[in-house]
Symmetry: D2
Subunit: 347 residues, 4 copies
C-alpha cells in the first residue's frame, strides 16, 4: 500500500522508520529463520543428537530465493511451506527431518510475531518515557503561567499551564506500566503442530527448549486461535494514539482560540504570511484517527473459526504492522509537535 | 433507535432486558438522584450541619417532571442543570446551597455511569460463569467423542469434542478474572467541579465522604477527560463478544460440514423440512460483529479535547448502552445456542 | 437498545420520533401484513379465484399475538414463519394455501423494508429542502457581512458570511436529487421463493400483481443477496450526516475563534454565566460520528454468502433502523442549531 | 505501512503492483509537476505571454531533491510549498511569477488525485470486464451441472451451477457502468486559490485553460471541502470488494460443504496431504474485510471543517491509496481464485 516510512517526502511527517524496520521483509525473514533454527535445536536437544546445532546454524545462514518464497506464498497462503522446502534442500536429505518437523506454519509465524511485538513495545515504552520527560520539562519551563481551561470548545475558568500539560502527561504513567507488563507477556512461543495438540511424546521438554533458544517463555499450550495477546497490544497502541492525538487536538484548539494560549514554530503559509498553521498537530490527529480505524479491523480478525482461520489471520497481517507503524509515527510526531512549542499561556 | 430488549418479537433473540434495565431512563434518573443525594450528604458532613441528611432524602424522593428535563437537556446538552433547578426548587431556597454546589454536570453523570457499569460487569461475570459451567457439562456429556479439527475451513486431523469445547471455554477464565478486577476498578466517583480542579478547602474530606456515601472509592482527582476506565470496560465487552461469537461461528461451520459434527434443535424451515438452520448461532455472529465495531469506535469518543468535550462525550452516550446490551444479548444467546445442541462428534 | 426518540430527556436532542415511528414494531407489523395481503391478492388474481381479496382483508386485520411471534422469532431467527402460522389459523384451513404460498420469509421482510426506506427517504428529502431554505434565508439575513475563512484551524483571508453558508448549502442540491432518485429506486418488491428462483409457472404475472398491489415495481428477479439498494440508502444517509456534521463542526470552530464570527442562544452554564456552549453543534458532530460508525458495519452486512445469509442479514437489522434514526436526528438538530444562530460575521 | 505490492513474498497474494504504481512517489511527483506545468500554461495563455510554454516544459523536467521536499513536507504538512520554492529557483526570478501564482497547495494535490483516480477507475473497469468474461466462460463450461443452493449455511434446494455463478456475475454489470460514469466524473480540476474563492479577474478563462491542458473539465468552482467525488470512488471500490469477497466466501462455504460442490487446485498442506485449503478464497475475504472498513472510514475524513481541513485531508492520504490497492488486489486474486477452480457441481 504506501510505505510512509520510506516515502521520500511524507517520511518525517507520517512515517516511522524504526517500527517499519521491525516489519520489513528482511527482518521478518531473519526472525522466521531464527525461529526455525531454535526449533531444530529444540528437537535436536531432545534427541541428544549433536548435529542439530550445525543444522540450526545452516538454517540461520540459508540463502533464500524470494521468487520461490513468493510463488509458495501465493500457492499456500503462507510463506512457511516454501521456506521449509528451501531449508530442507539446503541442509540435505540426511538432516531434512531436523527442519520444522512437528511444527506447523502458524507456529513459526506467530512465534516470529511475538519477537516483533516485543521489539515494538520496547520502542514504544522508550518513546513514551522520553515524551513524558519532554512534557515535564515544559511544565518547568512554563511554571507560573496561566491560560483558560477550555470546556465544550469554550473558555471556562483560568487554569495553570502546568495543569494543562499535566492532563497530557496523565495517561502515560499507566501506558508505560502497561507497555512494560505487555513486553513481558508477549515473550512467549506459539507451538501446537497441525491442529494445536502438541502431539509429541516429549512435548514439555521440546516446548521448553524451543522457548529457551529464543529467550522466550513456553505457555505450555498452543494459543493461536485465541488472539488475546495481539488484541492486548492493539488495545495499548490504541490508547497511546488517543494520548498523542489529544495533544494534537488540544494544540489545534488552543491555537485557534488565540496566540495568548500557544505559539509555535513551523506551519508557515507562503500565500498568507500571517498564518501559523498547526500542521504537525493536525497530522497527529489524523494518525490517531487512522490508528483507530485499523484497531476496528483487528477485533474482526480476532475471531478465528475452528482450529485455524486463514481469513481472520490474513486480515491480521494486513492491519497489525501498519497499526504499529502509525501509532509509532504518532509518538515521533508528538515529540516534534512539543519541540515546536515556543510558549504556552500568559505570565 | 430500536430497543431490542422490549421489542415484541426480537426481544428473546437479540435483546437483553437485564442490561437494558440498567440503562433505562428511570434507572438512570434514580442513579442521578442517588449521586446528588450522596453529594449533599458529603458537603453537609463537612459543614457538620444536621440538615444535609434531610435534604438528601428529599432529593432521593423528589418528583421530577420529564418535560422540564427534556427541555433542559435540549438547551444545555445534559440533563443535570435542569435537574438541579428542579431539586433546588424542591428543597426550597434555604437549602438550595446544599444541592450540587461544588459539582459539575459531568461529575454527576460519570459517577452515575460508574454505578451502572459496576452492575453491568457483575451481570457479565455471572453469565460467563454459567456459560463456562454449561460448557464443562457438555464436555462431560460428550466425553470420548471425536470429530475433525477444522483448519482453514477444511477438516484437518481428528480431535476430541472435549478439545473443541475446550477452545470455547479457553477465553472465559481470563475474562472472568478481568471482569472481577474491572468491577472493582469502576467503583470510583468522578468529582472535579467546573474544570476538574477540585477547588475546595476541604476537597479531600468531601471526596472521601461522597465516595463512601455511594459505596465507591475516591481516586483523589478528577479523571473525566481520561476515559481509560470506560475503554477498559469496552475492551472487556469486545473480548466477551469475540468469545461468544466464536461459538456461533463454529456451530455454523460444524453444521455446514455435516451432521456427524453437530446436531441441534430449532432452526426449522417450513418450506424445506430437511433443513436445520443454525439461526441462533448466526444471530450470535451478528451480535458479535455489531458489538465489536461499537466497542472499537469508543476509541473515537475517548479523545476529549481541552478540559471537557461535549462532542466526544455525547458520542459515548450513543454507543455505550447498546454496546453493553448487545454483548449482554450475546451471552444470553450463547447460552441458548449451547442448550439447543443435541450432540457433537461421533462415538 | 436505548430508543432516543422516546427517551424522556434525550428525545429532542438526539432522537427522531418521525423516523423511529417508521421502524416501530407496530408499523413494521402493519407493513408485513400489507405485504402478505398483497401477495395473497397476487396469487389469487392469477388463479382468478374471487376469495383472495377477502382473505387479504382478513390478513390485514388479523389479530397477532406478540408472544407467539416472539417465541417463533427466537426459534426461526425471523418472525415470518410464526406470523404465517397465525395467519393460516386465522383464515382457516380452506384458505391457508392463499397465505404466503410461494414466498419465503426474506421476500416479506425485504419488501416491507423497501416500503419503510421509501418513507425514510421522503422524510429526508423534505427535511433537506427545509434546511436549505433556512440556510438561504440566513444568507439573505446576513448579506454583506464578512468573517475570516478558516483554513487548517486558523483564520486565512476574509470572506463573506454568504460564502460560509454557501459551503453548508453546497452538498444539499445533489443530496436532494439523489434522495429523489433513490426514493424511486427503492420502490421495488423482493420476491424469489425458497432459493430466489421464482419457481412458478406464472412468475411474471404474479410478480407484477404483487408489486402493483403495493404501489411498487417488480424488478423481474430476486435481489435479496445483493444489498446494493440498502447500501445506496446508507451511502446517501452517510453523506447527509457529513453535511449536517460539517455545520456542527463549523459552528464549534467559529464559536471558539470568537464572538465576532458567530453568536447563538442556548448553551448556558449555570456555574459559569459568561459561557455560551455550542451544545447543539457538538451533539450534531456526535450524531454524525455515530452514523459513520453504523455505516461501517453496514458494508459488512452486505456480503451475503450463498443464497441467503442469516448472519449478514441479522446484522443489517441491528444497524439500519438506527442509522436512519440517527441521521434523521441530525437533520432535526441541524435545523435547531441554525435557528439558534443570532448573528454571523461583522458588518 | 508495508507495501504489499513490492513485498518479496506477499506480493502475488495480497499486492497489486499496477494500482500501487499509480500512487508511488515518483508517479505522484510526475503528476504534481504536470499539474503545475498545466497551471503555468493556463496563466501564461491568459497573459498571452509566449514564455509560459517554455517555463512549463522546464517545470515538467525539473530535478527535484527529495530531501528538500521531505523537510518542507514535515514543516508545512504538504509537499507543495517546498516544491514551488524548488521550481521557482529552477526557472529563475524572471519567471518565478509564472509558477503556481494564484493556486494553493490543495489545488495541486487534489487535481493530481483526480488524475490518479481516473487511472485507478480505468484499471478497475478493465479488470471487472475480464472477471465477468471469466465467469461467463465458467457458466458455459459447467453448463447443465447442479449443486445445492445454500441458505443460512445449510443446503436448501438444488440449483444450477449457472445460477450460482450468475449471482457472482450479478453486481458487475452495474459496477462496470458506475466505474465508467465515475471515470468521467473524476476528470475535473480543483482550483480555488487560498480560500477557494477563485479571486482572479480572468478566473473563467484560466480555469478552462488549466483543465484543457490536463485533458480534464473545469467544474466552474472550487470543491475541495466537499469530498463527494472521493467518497463516490470509495463507495464504488467498497462495492467491488463486496462482490469479489462474496466469491471468496462462497468458495470457502462450498468447499467446506463437500467436494461435490467445488474442487480447485492449490492450497495443499505438507503435513496433511488430504487437505485442499481454499487459501486464495480466504485471502479474498480478508482483503474485502480490510477494504470495507478503510472505505467507510473515509466518511470520517470527508467532513472538512472551515475552508480547508489539515486533519481530515491528511487522514484521507493515509486511507485512499491503500483502499485502491487492496480492492485492486482483490480483483486480481478473484481472477486467480476463479482460474484455480477445476469443477463445480455434479452432472
Amino acid at each position: 500500500m504506501i510505505d510512509t516510512a520510506t516515502h521520500p517526502w511524507l517520511g518525517d511527517l507520517l512515517g516511522d522508520t524504526q517500527i517499519a524496520a521491525i516489519f520489513q521483509p528482511d527482518a521478518e525473514l531473519r526472525r522466521l529463520l531464527k525461529v526455525e533454527a531454535a526449533w531444530t535445536r529444540a528437537i535436536g536437544s531432545v534427541a541428544a543428537d549433536g548435529t542439530a546445532d550445525r543444522v540450526a546454524v545452516a538454517i540461520e545462514n540459508a540463502p533464500i530465493d524470494p521468487s520461490t518464497l513468493k510463488a509458495g506464498t501465493t500457492q499456500d497462503g503462507v510463506p512457511i511451506p516454501a521456506l521449509v522446502r528451501l531449508l530442507r534442500d539446503h541442509v540435505g536429505p540426511d538432516h531434512a527431518a531436523l527442519v520444522h518437523t512437528g511444527m506447523t506454519s502458524q507456529d513459526v509465524m506467530d512465534t516470529s510475531l511475538m519477537l516483533a511485538l516485543g521489539d515494538v513495545l520496547s520502542v514504544m515504552e522508550n518513546r513514551m518515557s522520553a515524551l513524558d520527560q519532554q512534557l515535564l520539562d515544559m511544565q518547568a519551563a512554563f511554571k507560573g503561567r496561566t491560560m483558560p481551561a477550555y470546556t465544550r470548545m469554550q473558555p471556562a475558568l483560568q487554569t495553570t499551564v502546568h495543569d494543562v500539560i499535566g492532563r497530557w502527561r496523565n495517561p502515560f504513567e499507566r501506558l508505560m506500566n502497561d507497555a512494560r507488563d505487555l513486553t513481558n507477556k508477549v515473550r512467549i512461543v506459539q507451538w501446537g503442530g497441525p491442529i494445536g495438540a502438541r502431539d509429541h511424546a516429549q512435548a514439555q521438554a521440546i516446548g521448553a527448549a524451543f522457548a529457551e533458544n529464543l529467550g522466550l517463555r513456553d505457555p505450555g499450550q498452543a494459543w493461536h486461535t485465541d488472539r488475546s495477546v495481539v488484541l492486548d497490544v492493539a488495545y495499548l497502541l490504541s490508547r497511546i494514539s488517543i494520548a498523542t492525538g489529544k495533544i494534537g487536538e488540544d494544540v489545534c484548539v488552543f491555537a485557534l482560540a488565540g496566540a495568548e494560549n500557544i505559539t509555535f514554530t513551523g506551519g508557515g503559509s507562503s500565500a498568507m504570511p500571517h498564518k501559523n498553521n498547526p500542521v504537525k498537530a493536525e497530522a497527529l490527529v489524523a494518525l490517531a484517527d487512522f490508528a483507530t480505524v485499523l484497531a476496528t479491523n483487528l477485533n474482526r480478525s480476532a475471531r478465528h473459526e475452528g482450529f485455524r482461520s486463514g481469513r481472520a489471520w490474513t486480515l491480521e497481517w494486513l492491519i497489525l504492522p501498519q497499526l504499529c507503524a502509525s501509532v509509532g509515527a504518532g509518538t515521533l510526531l508528538a515529540a516534534h509537535t512539543i519541540e515546536d512549542i515556543i510558549s504556552m499561556g500568559a505570565i
